[in-house]
Symmetry: C2
Subunit: 420 residues, 2 copies
Amino acid sequence: MTTTPLKINAKRFHHMVDTMKTFGALPQGGITRRALSEEDRAGRAWLSGFARSQGLHVWTDPAANLHFSLDDRPACESQAVIMTGSHIDSVPEGGYLDGTYGVLAGIEALLSIRDAGITLSRPLEVVAFTDEEGRFGGMLGSQALTGLLDCEAARSFEDDQGVRLADVAPGFDIDMNRLADCARDMSKIAGYAELHIEQGPRLLEEQAEIGVVTGICGLYKLRIQFRGEASHAGTTPMHLRKDALTGMTRLHTRLPALIGAAPEVPAVATIGFVAVEPGAANVIPDCVTFTLDLRHLDLDALRQNRVAIETLVQTIARENRLEAQCDILSHFEPLPCNPDIQDAVAASASNRGIAAIRMPSGAAHDALNFRATGNVGMIFVPSEGGLSHNTKEFTKPEHLEQGVAVLADTLLAMANGASS
Amino acid sequence: MTTTPLKINAKRFHHMVDTMKTFGALPQGGITRRALSEEDRAGRAWLSGFARSQGLHVWTDPAANLHFSLDDRPACESQAVIMTGSHIDSVPEGGYLDGTYGVLAGIEALLSIRDAGITLSRPLEVVAFTDEEGRFGGMLGSQALTGLLDCEAARSFEDDQGVRLADVAPGFDIDMNRLADCARDMSKIAGYAELHIEQGPRLLEEQAEIGVVTGICGLYKLRIQFRGEASHAGTTPMHLRKDALTGMTRLHTRLPALIGAAPEVPAVATIGFVAVEPGAANVIPDCVTFTLDLRHLDLDALRQNRVAIETLVQTIARENRLEAQCDILSHFEPLPCNPDIQDAVAASASNRGIAAIRMPSGAAHDALNFRATGNVGMIFVPSEGGLSHNTKEFTKPEHLEQGVAVLADTLLAMANGASS
C-alpha cells in the first residue's frame, strides 16, 4: 500500500456515471436497461467509444462481454491477469448504479493508474458482463467467461416476454455456437475484485463508508407447499380445520430463531412469494405455496438451517394435520473472500481515512463465478436507504469516489503484490 | 308434537331431488346453476310445473322469488303465515343440495301434511329465494321479500362477468321498478324455519343426524393491510427488516387464542385471501393485504373479538416497525333462533328417535333476513365430509328424509302451536 494515495479523476468518473445513466433513463429517475435491449446497445456503444477515446483497448467475446484494458487482448489472455468488473444491464425500473458503478469504477481505476505512471506486474482487465440481472437466466456473461455456462441450455433461454436469447444474440454479435469459446483459462485469472453498491442498510446503519466483504453468502431457494382441506369459514370449528395457511404462518414466525438470526450472524431467511388457494374470504385455504430464500456465509450453517427448516415444515404439518412438501429450486455455496484481498481493501480505506467494516455480501454477484481462482474479493459502498433494484437507488458522489479509489488501490495491490 | 309421527312421501321427495339435480349438472357431479341463468330457468320451470301438478298454488313476486302453498296467494298475503324456504341457485361448481334441499323439503312437507289430512291454523308458504349465492350481491330475493334490499343499488348490480342484473331481469319477469313491492308486511310472517345441509363436519363428528340450530353467527369481514419496506432478501439483515408478511403471520398464529377458540365456543376466525407484494422470492414483502372473516354467536363477544384483533394488529405493527390498517368490509349481527322453535325441532327428533345436538350456524342463510319476525329457526342435516360449495357435496338419502320429516313436524308445531 502506498502511503501517498493514488488520485482518481473524479470529473472523468462522474462524466461516465452521468452519461451512462441517460441510457434507459426513466422520467421518475432510475433506469430500465435490460440486457441486450436497445438501451443496453446504446450504453455499450457510448462506453466503448469513450474508453477507446481515453486510450484503452476494448473488445468483446462471443457472449458480448465488453472487455477494457491498458493492455491488448492477446496480452490479457496470455498472462495471469487481475480482473475486475460487473454489469451495465439493469432490472426493470432499477437504479443507475447497480452493476454499472463497478464497471465505470474499474475503467476509472485503470485510467488513474495509467495517469499516475504506475507500472503493473500483471495486466488489469475490466469486464462488463452480459445479462447479470437475468433477462435470460442471470449471470450469463460471467458464467460464460468462467466456463460455468450450460451453453446447450442457453439455446432455449427466453425472457419473460417469450423473446429467445438465440433470436436477439446475432444483433449483439453473440455467437450461440461459440459461447463455449468465451471460457478463459482460469489458472490465468490471478484474482478478481468487484466493487458494488451495498444494496442494503448496514454501512449507513453502522456509520461506515467502505464494506470489506468477507464473502458472498450461499443460498438455498426453497419452494414449500402445505396442503390441507378447503372448507367453509363459518361452518368449520377451529379445532376441526386443516388450514393450509397455518403451516406457512407457524413456519414464518419461527424462522428468525430457527436460523439463529442475530445482528452479528450472517444468516437471513425470507418468504417473498406466497400463493393462497382458493383465495376466497370465506373459504379456509387448502393449499399455500411459497418460496423461502435462505442464505448464510458459512456452508455448514447454511446446510444445517436448510435441514432444520425441512424438519420444522414436517413437524408443523403433523401438528396441524397438513401435508407438506419442500423442494430445492436453486442453490449455491458461500464464497469466502480471500483474506489478502480483504486486508488490502481494509488497508486502503485506513490509509485514506475512510471508516470501513467487514461484512458479508448477502446478494450474489458476478464475482461468485470466480470461485475457481481462489482469489476473489469485493468492496461495498453505501446505498442510501438501503435501496436497490429501485429507481430511488442512490449513493453520494463522495462515497462513489471513495469506492473507486479503494478499488484502484486494491487492484494495484493484487497486480503488484505477493497474493495469489 | 304428535306421538304418531307424520309420514313423508320419500319417493316423491327423491323424485324432486333427482330431477332438480339435472338442471346444471356437471360431468364430475354437482351442479353449476347460477341465479338467473338458463339452468336456473329450467329448474324453476320444472319445479313450478311439478308443484302445480301436485295441487300446490305457485306464484312469483317482482324479485322472481318462487312461492308455493296449499293456500292461494291472497290467503298467504292477508293472514299471518308460517314460512319456510331456501334457494335453488348454486355457486359455480357447487352441490345439488345447498339451498335446493330446503326448498324441496318444504314442498314435500306441505304435501305430506296435506296428504295426512291435517288442518292448519295458519297457512304454510314455501319460498325459493332468488340469488342467495350472490351472482348479483347475495340474498337478493330474501332481502327483497323482507324489505331489506337497497332497490336503487340493485339497479347497478353486476355479476363477475360484468352482466347487469337490470339486463337479465326482464327475462325472468323481475321488475326493477317494482322490487320494493316484494316487501311483505313482516308482522304477518308469524315465523320462519329453514332446513339446510350443515356444510360443516360437526354433526358427523359428534355422531348426530339433526342439528337444532341455536342461532346464526354474526360476522365481521375485515380487510387488513400491513405495510413495511421492500428490500433485498440477501442484503437486509433480519433485525433491520420491515417485513410486511410478519404482520400477517404473527396475527394468524395468535388468532385461535385471541378469539377464545375451543370446541364448545361458537367463535371462528379465518384468513382466506392473502396478497403479498411485490411477490418475488428475493424481495422482502412491503405490503400484505388479507381478509379476516370473524364470526361468533354472541354479539358482545363478536364485537370484543373484533376490537381485540384491531388492537393486536396495531400492537404487531408497532413491534415490527410496520404500518397497519384495518377496515370493516361487511358486518351482520348474530341472530338467535327462537327457543320454542329449537324445542320443537328437538322434540321432533326425539319423537322420531333421531340423535340431535344443539349447534350454531356458522354460515349465513336466507333465514337471517327474517330477524324482524322474532321467530326464526333452522334445522341442519349432516354433510358428508363436511363438504359444501363443492361438487362432491353429499348427504345420505336417509338423512335427507329425516330432515324433511323434522321440518314438517316443526312447521306443524309453528302453524298450530302457541308460539309467536
